[in-house]
Amino acid sequence: MKLGLLELWRRPLRFAIAGASLLLLSVLLLFLGGLLDGLFIGSTGLLRAQKAELVVYSSDAKDSLVRSRIDPDLRATVESVDGVAATGGLGVALVGGRVPGQDDLANLSVTGFELPVSSMPADVQLAPGQALADRSLRAAGVEVGQTVAVGSGQAPVEVVGWVDDTDYLQQGGFFVEPSTWRQVLAQSRPDSNLPDGTFQALVVQVADGAGAQEVADAIDAATAGATSTLTKEQAVSALPGIKEQDSTFSSIIYVTLFVAGLVVGLFFALLTLERLGMYAVFKAIGASSRQVFSSVVTQSVVVAGVSFAIGAIVMWLLTFVLPAEVPVALVPSRLVQTGVLLVVMSVLGAVVSLRRVVRVDPASAIG
């Protein structure tokens, strides 16, 4: 192992090609992962931010928030189910907003809510015409104290504070009390006009000790199939495009990881070929195959680790120059996962050389 490290330290240029390839692959992997996370975060914040375990849609809505309707009678039935601790109405209108001093419209996800989401104070009170805006809207010029003209009806809504990570389908979260939402919806989507008391969905807090899935089943049974109740995680996955997005990006990421393994495998196979004579000398003077191979693995791990670390820094710097329309998010868990997978692929790549290392004949050192 020490031998491998010494060679890396004293002859770093020998590993430059593999290192540069892995650095580029690291940037690519982090960019793809960052895009996936950015798209996921920008699409699902509204649901993830809910301080509730369940989301209730009308069954004919196919788990779509904008198609769903929950009227007061259905809500009363839901609230009567054992295990339901509290419910909150939820509705969304995806509209444009005219921000003072900005030429372009801001994409808003105007959300009427009853239960505060995770980044709000528990006792949040909004007056009609007031909003808490997602901090992501600062990129569109939104500031606290501004009045934004919302929707095609240009409803004036004053921004009174911020919320975090609440975007929905790549539109900035814009939380208002239900009557303001209803007004915006009626002006911008007259066909979707909803009467007082009716929401698109309900979020449900489950009582302590009750199982979320059991309560969800009980709600759907109590409404005789008029509702489709999902856990928060299921509701996130059911959002349009989320599964497809995840599987598409994951496929590209895994193929890229495979390529990284091939790069390491090919590089160390060539390096091993070049060093058969040296390995024979090592074995002749008492090195075991395990000791020789461990130096190869050490080198592959260090090359991959250093390349990944530099790649992560490059990617981090890139996030400052990428346009706001490219929703890249560097998430620590993704960073760790990608780094670990890259190192694992490097070890697997180095294993390609194992057979050759084991078969090195120490007698060949002597002629």
Binding site: R11, K283, A365, I366
Partner: protein, 224 residues
Amino acid sequence: MPALELTNVRKTYTSGDAEIVALDHATLSVAEDEIVALVGPSGSGKTTLLSISGGLLTPTEGEVVVGGRDISGYSAQQLTEFRRSSVGFVFQSVNLVPFLTARENLVVVNDFGRRRGRKEARARAEKLLDELGLQRRMDNLPGQLSGGERQRVAIGRALMNEPDLVLIDEPTSALDTKLGEQVMELIVSEVKGRSTAAVIVTHDARMAHYADRTVTITDGVLAA
């Protein structure tokens, strides 16, 4: 107890249907502090005999005892342990590790076997290099050393683990006569100074007089 005792050692290879005899019932005994020159033409079996003596090859038949250990039936793993503890090699083309300094080229032998602690191994390496006249070259890489200096580092490496037997393959083949004589004198003085046994393979009969005894090998057959 002899440092090396070969008894009726035979080594054969197969090539198609034919059997090639590389070593034919070789019997040889090398005393504890004896230097034996093994002389013979190319393809005579010198390297095979050296390889079998050093545990690099296993004999087809016969018995090989080094420092009292019968290695004839050793597994590959046992032979690895044997090589790191009981024999030292000086290779024909020196074969130093190019990215290790002279000192590290010696210490690495200890690293493989962990026979000594790190500090102790370093001290021994420095002592050996000092005795070999390389006290100012310890931190130099092989590429920064002359041919003779590299040869001396290789000798130091062979002696690092205080082996029972040092096996030296064609030490003068790439050197001119004068430098070859200097290297042989150095080998003899270092090996003799430590009362260690050595087998020196050479095709150059002029160098044989440095040894205590010369053994000739022709077509795999030893003749005293």
